[in-house]
């Protein structure tokens, strides 16, 4: 495992809810990242966010780590939940809240 992969794994293990996104929750730089932020805010979930635009190594590294080509990416309790489409779908059917409250 490379340095960056180790660093990503550590961040994921340290934070119960972690969102890899473009921009910040206060100022998302992409509509998909904004959607996921808004859902988490709606559910009143505290989450740790990583701005991939600020670190090209993390931006590429997280794509390899998750085998997932796009940003945002949400992890809960160390598990990859998905990108914007899956998070939205799970929010609408109630699964996201259940997962977050585990």
């Amino acid at each position: 495992m490379t340095e960056i992969q180790k660093k990503i794994k550590e961040m994921i293990n340290k934070n119960k809810v972690i969102l890899f996104m473009k921009g910040t929750p206060e100022m998302p730089q992409c509509g998909f990242s904004m959607t996921v932020c808004n859902i988490l805010k709606q559910l009143k979930i505290n989450f740790f966010s990583v701005n991939v635009l600020a670190d090209e190594l993390v931006r590429q590294g997280i794509k390899e780590f998750s085998n997932w080509p796009t940003i945002p990416q949400l992890y809960v309790n160390g598990n990859f939940i998905g990108g914007c489409d899956i998070v939205k779908e799970m929010y609408e059917n109630g699964d996201l809240e259940k997962t977050l409250k585990q």
């Binding site: 998909f32 997932w68 080509p69 990108g83």
Partner: protein, 77 residues
């Protein structure tokens, strides 16, 4: 970098020959699409795995030539 609707359709059809596929060009710019894919190949897979299968059918274009693809995957019964 963009990808045409036809090219996207061909890649998805090659990856999911049995699928019902619907593609919308959301912004009319060949760069933001929404796709609904119903295939029996999704049986027994969770959503993350289903979307990973779609991305792999797109052969690395997702996130490169193709900026945005809102995905809905469903199992075809």
């Amino acid at each position: 970098m963009t990808i045409s609707r036809e090219e996207l359709f061909e890649l998805l059809t090659a990856g999911f020959p049995d699928a019902e596929i619907k593609i919308d060009d959301l912004a009319g710019d060949n760069n933001h699409y929404a796709a609904v894919i119903k295939s029996s190949k999704f049986r027994g897979k969770n959503k993350v795995q289903q979307h990973q299968m779609v991305y792999s059918a797109l052969k690395g274009k997702m996130g490169n030539e193709l900026h945005a693809l809102a995905l809905t995957t469903e199992e075809k019964k």
